[in-house]
């Protein structure tokens, strides 16, 4: 029995003939027609401000080496992309994806707000409103079109125990640690709660509970078979690796996932960013996890990548010059990765502002030439088909198109 047939029959078993929710049967039928599959946007946040200049190395800019005498990645070690930029060697799994044209890089990109506070900068990037703190919802939530009926309970998923800022808002979004955890742990309790909430006259709770138990059943049906990544893909056992594996599983189950958010922390490398060699140490290890995970995901998804776009971001970059403790301090602009079947990859987008002293932002950081909302706005419009960019990013006027998609 193939997977889709299995899903369908187990759905019938779950809900009984004729009682499966319409959105589910729609999702299942859609699963038979590749063109009707949901487009998915996955956001990966590198919390703590990754050192963009050692992640996407401007080895063709001589100032890079004079600014970073100890921690620079030697040009012999970088994975050359175009003769000027190269990837950190720990990102080797991403190189073939870039070369095949399914991954693009945007450099000198980020939030225009000048703050160097992790807290404020992350908040601004997740709310999508730099400089404005009281925005209560997140940009990713605002990308969801309101759906009244038959909406999938797992349209929007955040990995982890708490719903991330970017996903909070009017549209339903769920935080899921693992697919297996999304349930009432006591079987008798689960059954009883369901009938209790189904028959309550409390309309608010009745409606919410119905969605909840639908989602629980879905998660259960997904778990009937252990998840085996395709094409021998191997996800790292890290928190980020396991998170992306959960997302892969949700996507392949065709249960209506539209947007997902996950994060990977530890990038705040003020001290000893490198070990004995610049290609080893804290940053190298983290990038290894980051690259291996994204590489495994790409491999696992195979042709499905045509429905998927992954975008990565970090709250700000780090100082162009290394500090006195073999690390870097809080900076300004950074680099973003965009991966997906429809991406016009194999290219580094954005204008390179240079690393001469007068070219640096406030004399110390990589200057910003592309607003992160230009990138996200384009993904939302061209990938998700939501043209209402001014609602998703209030107060923002889109700049010139990057044409990444």
């Amino acid at each position: 029995m193939n997977r889709r047939l299995f899903l369908k029959s187990s759905a019938v078993a779950m809900f009984g003939v004729g009682t499966a929710p319409a959105w589910l049967s729609r999702a299942l039928y859609a699963a038979d027609a590749p063109s009707a599959r949901k487009k998915v946007l996955i956001t990966v946040f590198q919390r703590g401000a990754v050192d963009g200049l050692n992640m996407v190395v401007p080895f063709g800019d001589k100032n890079y080496y004079s600014l970073r005498p100890t921690i620079a990645i030697p040009n012999t070690a970088v994975l050359d992309l175009d003769g000027f930029f190269g990837l950190h060697p720990s990102l080797a799994p991403l190189k073939p994806i870039y070369t095949s044209g399914h991954m693009a890089i945007v450099d000198a990109v980020g939030s225009p707000d000048p703050t160097r506070s992790h807290f404020d900068a992350q908040d601004y990037m997740e709310s999508g409103t730099p400089g404005r703190k009281s925005t209560t919802d997140g940009w990713l939530n605002r990308t969801l079109a309101p759906v009244r009926e038959n909406k999938s309970p797992v349209r929007a998923v955040g990995l982890g125990t708490a719903l991330p800022r970017a996903l909070r808002g009017r549209n339903e979004a769920v935080a899921i640690s693992t697919v297996a955890d999304f349930q009432v742990r006591d079987a008798r309790g689960a059954e009883t709660f369901e009938s209790m909430y189904a028959s309550t006259l409390d309309r608010t709770l009745n409606g919410a509970a119905k969605d909840t138990f639908d989602a629980v059943r879905l998660m259960k049906s997904i778990q009937k078979t252990p998840y085996v990544p395709a094409a021998g893909a191997k996800y790292p056992g890290s928190r980020f690796g396991r998170g992306m594996e959960q997302i892969a599983r949700l996507i392949k189950s065709d249960i209506g996932l539209e947007v997902a958010f996950t994060d990977i922390g530890g990038w705040d490398t003020h001290v000893n960013q490198i070990a004995a060699q610049p290609t080893a140490g804290q940053l190298a290890n983290l990038l290894g996890d980051f690259g291996n995970t994204l590489g495994a995901f790409y491999q696992d998804m195979g042709d499905r990548m045509s429905d998927i776009v992954i975008v990565t971001m970090s709250e700000f970059g780090r100082t162009a010059r290394e500090n006195g403790t073999r690390g870097t301090d809080h900076g300004h602009a950074n680099a973003m990765f965009v991966m997906g079947g429809s991406v016009r990859g194999g290219k580094v987008y954005g204008e390179w502002p240079g690393l001469e002293r007068e070219q640096l932002y406030e004399g110390r950081d990589l200057a910003l030439t592309t607003d992160f909302r230009d990138v996200l706005g384009e993904l939302v419009t061209r990938h998700l088909g939501n043209r209402d960019v001014t609602t998703i990013f209030p107060g923002y006027r889109p700049g010139k198109s990057l044409a990444i998609l």
Partner: protein, 599 residues
Amino acid sequence: MRLALSAFLCAGLIVPLAGFGKLQNKARKPDNDAKLFQKKLSKDDQLRHALDRLTFGPRPGDFEAAKKLGLKKWLDRQLHPEKIKENPTLAARLQPLDSLRMTGAEIARNYPPQQLIRQVANGRLPMPEDPVLRAAVQRMVKRYNARKGTEEKDDKVEPARPLTDVLAPAEIRTLRNGKPDEKRELIASMPEDKLDDALIAMAPGIRQQLFNIVNEDTRRKILLLTTPQQLISYDLNTGKLYRAMFSNRQLEELMVDFWYNHFNVYLDKGADRYMVPAYEREAIRPHVLGNFREMLGATAHSPAMLFYLDNWQSVFVTPNPRAPRRNARGLNENYARELLELHTLGVEGGYTQKDIVEVARCFTGWTIRNLQQDGAFFYNDRVHDKGEKVVLGVTIPAGGNQSDGEKVLDILSTHASTARFVSRKLAMRFVADEPPAQLIDRMAATFTKSGGDIRQVMKTMLESKEFMSAGAVHSKVKTPFEMVVSAVRALDAQVEFVSTLAIQLNTLGQPLYRKQEPTGYSTANAEWVNSAALLARMNFALALAQNKIAGIKVDAEKFSYPQVSKATQAAIDNAMKDKTPTPALAAGLIIGSPEFQRR
């Protein structure tokens, strides 16, 4: 009065716990049905409603006690908490939580955040005197030096004295392989000095195993030896939960929760880690039923708020086109914006972007002295904008000083929009998501007439027909914090420690003191009923009743089952049918029921 499980399952005789009156069985109309706000309640229902709304949930016996006192008297006492004798248990429980009584500077010294370790390492700050603290700080300094490369890389910092010098071999064996009770006994038998030495000397793994079985003092020491800064969060969480659970001044505690949330500060933003305890204690708590202007002023002066909303960095720089300064800080509007939007006028309160800038100019120079060490309010006249400002049509003449900011606070606290905004927010917490407009009018009028006397505004609300109406009863979904505390209270649980409940609150979506945005947590029903949150509530309810949450002991057999709807009753009866009825499951199902999610 207690009912056995069998009686409950027979479903005949049920003693309504306060808050679960007959109204429960009727359909909830849309939450803002106007007619319901005119519908009166029976005397008993009024009392149940008051207990549901003005406390963190009734405990067994609360209804009877309040009835004996009479509703009017009960309300009056809650509005004057100083008239209520505080529960002695509470004082005893708060005693070990010493950071709650410290200034920011004392906390920084005793529970140094990471950024202070550097100063200790460089000898610019003294080592703490307490031996446990000193050991913790020494370890961190050593770790810091190792990272900096000034010391041999050494992940395992050797304890000052080996454990074998401190304890006898038999004692060490007990610590390693003993049963929890044996370990508990051993720890309890040690004099304090010996215990300190042993805790410092033992391996982290062994220490961690003691966490759940020792008393509060020792538990804090264990935490201290791991990460000193965590103590601040531990004390804050524990203190807030204990007060909500055990205080006799329930309304006052609800108001502290309300106003802290109104003037929200995020614990994990940098220096706020050690400024929040004093902020809640000094800027919020004394004013929760007092004067609004005074509370507004206290928050505006507090280093916690100045830091959280960046005003401490907001300065006036004389424009000098010939010598533009690099890295020059300038005007920061964050505090000004939130002051207008969230603290006073409300987003539709009738101000412009120009007003925000003018207000920000008035507050230039309101900063923090010695952020890293002392952290006190400081007005720096040198960076104050001396020009004329116009705020909401009122001219503040040039040449002013700190008084410019005070004038702004005067204008805002007496503005009609503030009276309405604050009244409406209180009514949304205490009456309904969409409180009747006429009620807001009356509350706002009281606010203005009384010069912002919060107690008077509360009195107007609590004595209104709208508050004591069918429209208000059970119209609110409990926040996770309210749900967790009300469950512990309803179950009359034995509470040993509550850090596990603080962790539950993270999962439930309401980590205490950790709302990032200055908006604070929403009290709107819709905010708290999404799928993941609902599942988390059900799991929490079952875990709590089945004694799976360390630190909290529930005797489900003694649980006084509240009356629930027929539907809920039927579902539970059905769960017990043909199976051995388990009191814990039944209690968990009640706590997780739709009825219990409302207040």
